[in-house]
């Protein structure tokens, strides 16, 4: 295992003097920050959790390796989108299957920590390479974050604890009790990575003109390109809440990198992060991105934390063993065999993977009934599609007509359709961008659809909401009315309202009798 010795393990191991922090200053602080020795528990957890998540992603795509990542399929290289054609070589179908199979094996061996460094480097290279060949259905921002994490894990000694490698190492050195310590810099870089990811995400939101008005977030909540997001769709009814969450999320994203290091700030920031990511799962239908992002939080676990948690656990779970179990050491020849088993396993699994994929026949070209036939489309439907549509219908320019009793943050709240005489009715007509400069009418009609009041306003192209205020005065008799929105000479929205007598008049009515 000498070749596996971390280069940084040659650094001074302990003590402030050895760490070179005798003369405190920026250099000393940086030395302490990056090179303080520690047991890499956090990175070991990262090493175990991330491959499990990626395994789910990779296994779903394994059968489609030929289609997504090979010249025998429809690759979609990321580089093409940037104008760098043929930047990366595209493997043949069999090679793509071999790579995908090896990736599965490397993810498993990384998870259990067997030949950890080789496995992590294998994961990093194959995962990143294959991802960049399919920017349609594989490569996303979460895969970029995963690649970064794998890169940092490949620098670290994450396999030195809680792993097969650690177990084998103990077999070689039975006298060693304390877990090995290594410099903290890979863990620090992972912490800085997620902090900078959030910071960049905040910059994006600040750049987005209609983010803080909540308009774009509302449309995001209605998007169905990700998984189901029923809570997000319900949230569109509460735009003030959405705007509030938008502000909180940006503030948290900016503050994260400053507050995540120590004390209560660390736990509060991380807890907010977990809530934020779980929130994106429910409201936006993102499933993998939150898991990958939260995996980086494991880098915030320090050696002291694990020691403390072990202390807590030992209070509740006391071992019944009275003495240390007798350790049976592996003979040297078993170590040699295990070392040989790793490449042999890779070879065997790769061959089996190719054979299995051949048998499964993903394109179905070796079926007894022959290759698949194309699905025929109705000619009338296709020709209707080819007609095209030049202008958007006025009806589709309007997103909604909401009525309520007050306005906060530019949005109507207290939605209702039953009002009392004397109350104020706020009507808000939300428009779908892009729209031209419009004249929007919001008219009051009675139950016989007779026009009672006509209000109109010009809505410039950069404005997405038109607000109307109606004071439902006593001249309007109780009964049913309608608010009718007209645009481009057409009725585009109608809401029914019920007007009830004023509360005071209800109370006075007995007196009047």
């Amino acid at each position: 295992m000498k070749d596996m010795v971390d280069s940084t393990s040659l650094l001074p191991q302990s003590g402030p003097e050895a760490r070179g922090v005798t003369n405190r200053g920026l250099r000393g602080s940086l030395n302490e920050f990056f090179f303080a020795p520690e047991v890499p528990y956090g990175l070991a957890l990262c090493r175990m959790v991330l491959p499990a998540i990626l395994l789910y992603v990779v296994l779903r795509r394994w059968l489609h390796a030929r289609e997504f990542f090979s010249s025998d399929g429809a690759v979609a290289p990321l580089a093409d989108n940037y104008g760098y054609f043929h930047m990366l070589p595209i493997p043949s179908g069999t090679v793509a299957v071999i790579l995908m199979t090896l990736l599965v094996v490397f993810l498993v061996t990384t998870m259990i920590g067997w030949r950890t460094r080789i496995s992590v480097i294998g994961c990093l290279l194959i995962y990143t390479y294959l991802n960049t060949l399919d920017c349609l259905s594989t490569f996303t921002k979460y895969s970029v974050i995963a690649s970064h994490v794998l890169l940092l894990l490949s620098f670290s000694r994450c396999g030195s604890v809680w792993s097969v490698d650690a177990w084998l190492s103990r077999q070689k050195q039975p006298g060693r009790i304390a877990p090995p310590e290594f410099p903290a810099w890979p863990r620090r870089l992972m912490q800085l990575l997620i902090g900078l990811v959030y910071f960049g995400a905040a910059v994006t939101k600040i750049h987005t003109p209609t983010f803080f008005s909540g308009d774009q977030l509302r449309f995001w909540l209605m998007t169905d390109v990700n998984n189901a997001n029923a809570i997000g769709e319900q949230l569109t009814l509460y735009p003030v809440l959405v705007v509030t969450m938008a502000y909180i999320s940006v503030v948290w994203e900016i503050l994260f990198i400053f507050m995540c290091w120590r004390g209560h700030g660390r736990w509060i920031t991380l807890l907010m992060g977990v809530m934020f990511h779980m929130g994106t799962r429910e409201t936006l239908g993102l499933h993998i991105f939150p898991l990958v992002s939260m995996t980086t939080y494991l880098a915030f676990i320090k050696t002291d934390d694990v020691t403390r948690w072990r202390g807590w656990l030992s209070r509740f779970w006391r071992s019944t063993r009275t003495s240390e179990p007798r350790r049976v050491l592996l003979a040297d020849h078993w170590h040699r065999r295990l070392a040989l088993a790793f490449p042999c396993m890779l070879l065997v699994v790769a061959v089996l993977g190719v054979e299995l994929e051949h048998q499964l026949d993903p394109y179905g070209i070796r079926r007894s009934e022959g290759p698949h036939e194309l699905v025929e489309l109705d000619a009338a439907t296709v020709e209707a599609m080819m007609e095209g549509s030049s202008r958007v219908r006025p009806k589709d320019l309007v997103h909604s007509l909401e009525m309520g009793k007050m306005m906060i943050g530019g949005y109507v709240i207290g939605h209702k359709s039953t009002f009392r005489q004397g109350e104020r009715l706020f009507a808000q007509c939300t428009l779908n961008p892009p729209h031209p400069d419009l004249v929007i009418e919001c008219n009051l009609h009675d139950s016989g659809n007779r026009l009672l009041d006509r209000v109109q306003q010009v809505v410039p192209r950069e404005v997405f909401r038109a607000n109307f205020l109606y004071v439902l005065h006593d001249a309007l008799v109780p009964g049913e009315y309608s608010l009718v929105v007209r645009c481009g000479g057409q009725e585009v929205a109608r809401r029914r309202i019920v007007l009830e007598p004023a509360e005071a008049s209800v109370e006075r009515s007995p007196v009047a009798n």
Binding site: A74, L136, G200, E387
Partner: protein, 299 residues
């Protein structure tokens, strides 16, 4: 002389030099450095001196290697943080963000803005048998990468439609194709809302209306013959344009070769959707046969 004695000599030498790098040696050899053991002299003094010299050399090499490794680690840290910082700066100043695919790894633009319209992509092949066929997703797969949508819907720039269509044709018993159409469909996202939310916002029944736009015409080999602006971008142009825009798709603009115009004839100055007979082509199709040989020169 044993290894432990040798180490003790090294320690003495290193102490005399005012350095303490023996722990580096210890780590290299996987043996913890000894601190409190007695010196046991014995053997030839010259041999001891030689061994001390060798040990000193080893220590020097190890120290030198350790220093290089330390520098290498520092360079990795600076390089990594520098690249992340460069991405943040470029993103903040909107500079060079799309200059190279590697920028995707350091620019964190997870919220790029979402429109008020949902869209889908239809990749349709027009066969020589005058029938239309769906070319995406392939008939062999029901894979949906991130939700319930097939893979081809996640191609916003339509850079890969040709490859998707070609792959489908290559792996099916497809009839010969005249051409391939990439058609975009849009509808207002309000129609995506569930009934509970819809009823809260509207008293009217939900009537989803889709807008279609031909975005690309591809030769049967998947090579693009022509691209058109997206329906949504065109709506943006229409919203701010003081003059009538050229009808789209349209091939009557100057600069297009007659060959390319011929491939676009159905769109020439006609009302959309009206079918015209193809002169010289024995087909009732709305599109004449594309000539794949001419496609590269037409681009």
């Amino acid at each position: 002389m044993g290894d432990r004695q040798l180490r003790r000599h090294c320690r003495l030498v290193s102490q005399s030099l005012g350095e303490s790098h023996l722990d580096l040696l210890a780590v290299d050899d996987d043996i913890p450095p000894t601190k409190n053991s007695d010196f046991e002299s014995g053997g030839n003094v010259d041999m001891v001196a030689n061994e001390v010299e060798v040990a000193g050399l080893r220590r020097g090499v190890a120290s030198w290697l350790g220093r290089i490794k330390r520098w290498a680690v520092s360079l990795v840290i600076v390089g990594y943080l520098g690249s992340l910082g460069y991405g943040i700066v470029c993103h903040t100043l909107n500079f060079n963000t799309a200059s190279h695919p590697a920028m995707y790894f350091v620019v964190w633009d997870m919220f790029c803005g979402w429109s008020a319209y949902a869209n889908r992509v239809h990749i349709i092949g027009e066969g020589e048998d005058n029938k239309y066929y769906s070319l995406a997703p392939g008939p062999w797969t029901e894979f949906t990468p991130f939700g319930s949508l097939a893979r081809h819907h996640y191609d916003p720039f339509l850079n890969h439609s040709g490859q998707l269509a070609k792959n489908c044709l290559d792996h099916t018993s497809a009839p010969p194709m005249k051409r391939i159409l990439v058609i975009e469909e849009y509808w207002a996202k309000k129609y995506n809302l569930p009934d509970s939310v819809w009823n809260h916002c509207s008293d009217e029944p939900r009537e989803r209306y889709s807008y279609f736009q031909v975005r690309q015409i591809l030769a049967p080999c998947g090579t693009p013959v022509r691209r058109f602006q997206s329906w949504l971008a065109r709506q943006g142009d229409l919203a701010i344009s003081a003059q009538n825009l050229v009808s789209q798709p349209d091939s009557t603009r100057a600069g297009l070769s007659p060959e390319l115009r011929a491939t676009m004839r159905p769109f020439d100055g006609l009302r959309a959707g009206r079918l015209i007979p193809m002169a010289g082509v024995n087909s009732s199709s709305s599109f004449p046969v594309a000539d794949p040989e001419r496609v590269p020169s037409a681009q």
